[in-house]
């Protein structure tokens, strides 16, 4: 089920390396800086460079091998993960024992953002599909930021609210469309 690291790397390589480098929003994981990744993440889009630097100072860089879990379903959430390089799959254990894949996330995407609000159990697992570099943003660091740099923290929380609202809307729409199909 999990693709090998080499296959994915080949898939991601742009056809024309020259134009690819100019127009692509992403660089290779090893070249892109933490600041650049954060800038691409919707949660931090409204932050100035100075503010981003503060956030870059408190995130944790983690490296995962293919098949390693970033977090597992039902564990309490403590951090949100922003993908710097590689690819992760969001999975839930199916009734038959096989994992059901809900989504595949690539660089710039983020996952586990609800952990920034409280430590309720994760609703799904996140597993690296290939060698993945991720940035972990810890809830307690955000809480501390609310005390020390309230302007930065409130900007992040505002964007987080927007993202959660959008996801809620999308879920409602899915439920609605499923309801219509059943009828």
């Amino acid at each position: 089920m999990i693709e090998t690291s080499d296959t994915n790397k080949n898939k991601q390589k742009p056809v024309n390396a020259f134009w690819g480098n100019i127009f692509s929003r992403f660089k290779a994981a090893e070249n892109i800086t933490t600041m650049e990744v954060l800038k691409l993440c919707p949660l931090f889009q409204r932050l100035s460079s100075r503010e981003l630097k503060k956030v870059a100072g408190i995130v944790y860089e983690r490296s995962y091998q293919a098949g390693e879990y970033l977090f597992e379903k039902d564990q309490p959430g403590a951090a949100m993960f922003i993908i710097k390089g590689g690819m992760i799959k969001i999975i839930v254990p199916g009734k038959d024992g096989a994992d059901a894949e809900l989504a595949t996330l690539s660089p710039e995407d983020f996952v586990g953002e609800l952990a920034l609000l409280d430590d309720t159990p994760r609703s799904a697992s996140a597993r690296a599909a290939e060698r993945t570099e991720a940035l972990a943003f810890f809830r307690e660091d955000l809480n501390e930021m609310l005390e020390t740099y309230p302007v930065i923290a409130s900007k992040i929380l505002r964007e987080l609210s927007i993202v959660i609202g959008q996801r809620l809307k999308a879920s409602n729409e899915q439920l609605y469309s499923k309801g219509i199909q059943h009828e």
């Binding site: 983690r62 039902d74 309490p76 951090a79 005390e147 020390t148 740099y149």
Partner: protein, 436 residues
């Protein structure tokens, strides 16, 4: 054996199978862990003189972290905030050191205090046991327990007796030495009484009293400069630890978290944060509680007629000793009673307190502070403090003092609290994360 390892047979680099690699990794981890634990243990034991200065610096930094956050919140830049806190810390250390230096008894006062204490203790013992000048048989308590109590008093007297050099020095101060005021006649009489037996057995035989008369008999072999330099060498670490911990913007935490394997990453963050919060709250709570206890002693002892200098000194010691549950009040009672024992006259605002009942007044003060501590300070300041079993308190305090002396005595309980909180949080979180 080599048949399983074709790589080695063919001269290629050795390639280990997955299970062998796992086993090798486990062995390497175990050996590394053992080496690290032994090295840390060896370093802690070898460098134990600097443990107290380091802990004091860390403790001060922990207390200042919320202040630094407050500075940042009100818009003071981090470097300026650190500078303000460091300046305040340095100033506080200087003022406290100066104040302690001024209230601590000097060599002359120390000799007089010991002489007074020994004399008064023996006098009160004789009175209590009914061993006046005329009646030598003693009261009923003395009849039953006299032999044991005498042995106990002998051992106390052994500790309190001034040795030969100290006696010579006392005599010098008696006649005026180093521009210090002469020792009062009354205390000289105490001295003569205390040294009665010794003089008859020892010094008159050797003529030590006469020998000492022309000598420069300072007790200290080391010069004052050497002592101060030694103290500075050790305690210079404290402000440095304080400063570097304030400057550190999470780098130490990030370093240790980076060592944690991925499956334990989130749980390590959760544990670190909860332990950090609990320890910070405990340390800040205990500091404020100790401060309140110290101030309470200062006020109450001043009311019952203690000299301000001694009230401050006892308040300070009782405040520090308050970090030791159960034993703190006992230490306060012991020191307060010792002073009450030697008090010649009492200048209390309460007219019924005399030198004879001063010990009872001290006991009442300790009781009042204990009630205030448990009814007011602990619930409102320390809050849900970590509870430790009394047995753990005693073993910790005795073990700490055997291993690390005075520092171990004071720091044993905070260390046990920190360990208890860390271990319980670790196991709780590991369970929450279904790791165990």
């Amino acid at each position: 054996m080599n048949e399983d390892m074709p790589g080695r047979k063919q001269g290629h680099p050795l390639i280990l199978r997955a299970d062998t690699r796992k086993k090798t990794r486990r062995i390497v981890f175990t050996i590394t862990a053992v080496v690290v634990v032994l090295t840390v243990g060896f370093l802690v034991w070898s460098l134990r003189p600097i443990i107290l200065p380091i802990i004091v610096g860390t403790f001060a930094a922990y207390i200042c972290f919320p202040l630094l956050s407050l500075f940042l919140r009100i818009g003071i830049p981090r470097p300026a905030g650190i500078l303000i806190l460091f300046g305040a810390f340095f100033l506080a250390v200087m003022v406290i050191a100066n104040q302690i230096g001024s209230i601590m008894p000097d060599e002359r006062e120390w000799l007089v205090l010991r002489t007074r204490f020994q004399y008064k203790l023996n006098e009160r013992y004789r009175n209590f046991m009914g061993l006046g000048e005329s009646e030598q048989t003693g009261n009923i308590i003395y009849k039953y327990f006299g032999n044991d109590l005498n042995r106990f008093m002998d051992s106390i007297n052994q500790v309190l007796h001034l040795n030969k050099e100290e006696r010579l020095l006392f005599m010098k101060y008696r006649w005026g030495f180093q521009n210090k005021p002469r020792i009062k006649d009354r205390y000289y009489e105490y001295f003569l009484k205390n040294t009665e037996s010794l003089r008859s057995e020892d010094e008159f035989k050797n003529g030590a009293f006469d020998e000492g008369k022309g000598k420069n008999g300072d007790l200290k072999k080391e010069s004052n400069i050497a002592v101060v330099m030694e103290a500075i060498k050790l305690w210079i670490i404290t402000p440095l630890v304080f400063l570097f911990l304030l400057i550190d913007d999470g780098e130490i935490k990030r370093f240790f978290v980076s060592l944690v394997p991925n499956p334990y990453f989130e749980v390590s963050l959760a544990v670190f944060d909860k332990v950090n919060g609990a320890i910070g709250n405990y340390l800040r709570g205990i500091l404020i509680e100790s401060l309140l206890v110290g101030i309470s002693y200062l006020i109450l002892l001043s009311i019952i007629g203690f000299e301000l200098k001694f009230a401050v000194m006892i308040g300070l010691i009782a405040g520090i000793a308050n970090a030791i549950p159960l034993l703190g009040p006992a230490i306060a009672l012991a020191i307060g009673s010792s002073y009450a024992l030697i008090a010649e006259n009492v200048d209390s605002i309460l007219p019924f307190i005399t030198p004879d009942n001063l010990i009872i007044a001290v006991a009442a003060c300790v009781l009042i502070v204990m009630i205030m501590d448990s009814a007011l300070f602990q619930p409102f300041v320390v809050g849900g403090a970590v509870q430790i079993h009394p047995l753990a308190v005693f073993i910790g305090v005795i073990g700490g003092s055997i291993l690390f002396g005075f520092a171990g005595l004071i720091l044993a309980i905070p260390t046990i609290v920190v360990l208890k909180e860390s271990i319980s949080t670790l196991f709780r979180e590991l369970k929450n994360y279904y790791i165990i």
